[in-house]
């Protein structure tokens, strides 16, 4: 009688990727039991140990003479952290500024002749959970052909950012949308009423991370758990 374990091992060996000699027809009864039980598993080449993924993108300071230096000149006395972020081709400069300096910085980048960033192409909110809420402004200058990303962070306790809709009219709708989705108040906005959400939905912020999309995430957990489909890389 063959133990069920032995059967299992044979089938895995035949179907597995390690080239095992085809199981010879069991000679004289005891042969299957002699086979070392863990052999096919031991012969499988060990997966290369993956390096732990970095938790944060490395921050490279911009080259001397970059747009962040122009900004430092145009808005003196403003504390800022500058680093490079990738764009589709090449990289561009991002600066992090304090919330209280934001309006001064945005006025400077809009009005200063050496910066001349008149085009606000995108305004996004991000929920960084413990690290608060962030507003990101993507700016572009048609005359100078350079880009700048401005970021500012606020806490959950006081999610107020000065509105820049007086400087950039395009920020009007973007700010209303960001208020809808993240509950960030834009101080000085002329008409901060819900834009995409219903008028009475002013206390629930769908894009914050404390609103999980439960059903979808659970569904994915079953079907796309870590390691699934990693057979051939």
């Amino acid at each position: 009688m063959t133990p069920p374990d032995g059967q299992d091992q044979e089938t895995t060996g035949a179907a597995g990727e390690t080239p095992v000699t085809p199981p010879s027809p069991a000679p004289e009864g005891a042969a299957p039991a002699e086979q070392p039980a863990a052999k096919p598993a031991a012969e499988r080449p060990a997966r290369p140990v993956k390096e732990a993924e970095p938790k944060e993108a490395p921050r490279v300071a911009p080259q001397p003479g970059s747009i962040s230096e122009l900004l430092a000149k145009a808005a003196p006395g403003v504390e800022m952290k500058a680093y490079m972020v990738p764009s589709v081709v090449g990289e561009s400069v991002a600066v992090e500024v304090g919330r209280d300096d934001l309006r001064a910085v945005m006025t400077a980048v809009h009005d200063d002749a050496s910066l001349d960033l008149k085009y606000l192409r995108c305004l996004s909110g991000i929920d960084w959970q413990e690290e608060g809420l962030e507003v990101v402004y993507h700016l572009w200058s048609f005359s100078k052909r350079h880009a700048l990303t401005v970021k500012t962070r606020v806490t959950y306790a006081d999610p107020t950012v000065p509105s820049i809709s007086a400087i950039y009219p395009s920020a009007d709708w973007h700010e209303r949308e960001t208020r809808d989705m993240f509950g960030i108040n834009f101080d000085g906005h002329p008409n901060l009423v819900p834009l995409l959400l219903p008028d009475d939905m002013t206390d629930h912020f769908p894009l914050r991370k404390d609103n999980p999309l439960q059903e979808i995430e659970e569904w994915q957990g079953d079907n796309l758990r870590d390691g699934a489909g990693e057979g051939e890389e």
Partner: protein, 373 residues
């Protein structure tokens, strides 16, 4: 005639939409009129808001492509391309040449089909009624046949993949595209003949909804509307992505920034798209891989952020992708051109005649799914 001065004179608010044939989707605006002149406009959007950005945070990078289609449902390939570019940039994947050419061919054909849609719908807005619509939709159908042959679907293609394409195009792809291009060229001529010098069309379009370059930039307007306002700007040339530097094409620019210029810019863009497709067909490598050889099955990006943008038929379709590592975006913002262009509607419409409000809205060529996301 004696006017009774004791009568109270008030501005009248008129509601338009959300179910109205001229709003091109579920869009509502409240117009305040003084006689025939528009004094104020309040646009109301959000009827189609489905939380797309939230959904994409829960989808992995492969699934997100399908959602990009559903957002920009008239320029699906542009949306897919923008999304793929963002992920490819974060993962630092090189796309094989053949895949790049097929992507460009399909994206430009998509621009044709989208602009045909505009021509048809805009003809209805301007009172040409169904003639232009039927002309344009016939041509659009030929283009959609090709998309269906390639991707298996008429609207939701989901054909681009991070790194390349889902599968090879059919064997007769090149000859089929050439065949359809001939039809499209005839279609553009037909529409040109029907609309461009049509007296009623000109009277309804010229000097309506003028928008200066300065205001267009301030409002973040992009695409044909920005170019019609006189800004010589096209992402395909000025911030090139994919393989666009390999093609020669002209960028049409308007002089007056009115509704008529927006129409003319789109008409010329269609001719330029055909020229790009012809060049791409000539340069298309007859065979080769359509996905990189070393391609992980499971897409994981390193942590980081990227703002990718493509010139969609409506303007700058941008994706701000923030990743904390792993197989899903941490934040996925879609910068929709329709949204930004529509935000300028109020300023364009104030001071115009009520009947022209429809023309101005039509000339923006919005996709409401893309506005609301």
């Amino acid at each position: 005639m004696v006017l009774d001065s004791s009568l109270e004179v008030i501005d009248m608010p008129i509601n338009m939409g959300p179910q109205h044939p001229s709003t091109h989707g579920v869009f509502r605006m409240v117009l305040v009129v003084d006689g025939e002149k528009v004094v104020d406009v309040t646009p109301h959007i959000g009827y189609m808001h489905r939380g797309g950005e939230k959904l994409m945070e829960a989808m992995d990078f492969r699934q997100g492509i399908g959602y990009a289609d559903r957002t920009e449902y008239l320029a699906q390939f542009s949306a897919e391309l923008g999304y793929c570019l963002a992920v490819e940039r974060l993962m630092e994947i090189e796309v094989p040449d053949r895949a790049e050419y097929i992507r460009v061919i399909l994206t430009e054909m998509n621009r044709l089909s989208s602009h045909f849609m505009f021509m048809g719908a805009f003809g209805i807005d301007s009172g040409i009624f169904a003639t232009s619509f039927v002309y344009a939709f016939r041509e659009r159908e030929y283009l959609q046949d090709i998309f269906e042959e390639v991707s298996g679907d008429r609207l939701m293609y989901a054909y681009f993949r991070v790194g390349g394409l889902a599968w090879e195009v059919p064997d007769n792809f090149v000859s089929r595209v050439q065949e359809v291009l001939v039809k499209s060229q005839q279609g553009i001529r037909d529409l040109d003949d029907l609309l461009t010098k049509n007296e009623i069309f000109m009277a309804r379009c010229q000097n309506v909804g003028n928008f200066s370059a300065e205001r267009a930039i301030a409002y973040g307007v992009s695409g044909p509307i920005l170019r019609a306002s006189g800004v010589n700007w096209d992402l395909r040339r000025d911030e090139p992505y994919s393989i666009y530097p390999r093609f020669k094409f002209q960028i049409p620019v308007g002089n007056y920034g009115d509704v008529y210029d927006r129409y003319l810019v789109r008409l010329e863009e269609m001719r330029q798209s055909i020229s790009i497709i012809e060049q791409a067909l000539q340069q298309l490598p007859p065979e080769g891989p359509i996905v990189p050889e070393k391609m992980p099955r499971r897409l994981r990006t390193p942590p980081g952020e990227v703002y990718a943008k493509v010139e969609s038929p409506r303007g700058e379709w941008g994706v701000y992708l923030v990743s904390k590592g792993g197989d899903k975006p941490y934040r996925m913002k879609m910068r929709s051109p329709s949204f930004c262009n529509l935000s300028a509607l109020r300023e364009m419409t104030i001071g115009q005649y009520l009947a022209d409000a429809v023309m101005i809205l039509g000339s923006l060529d919005i996709v409401l799914c893309d506005v609301d996301r």
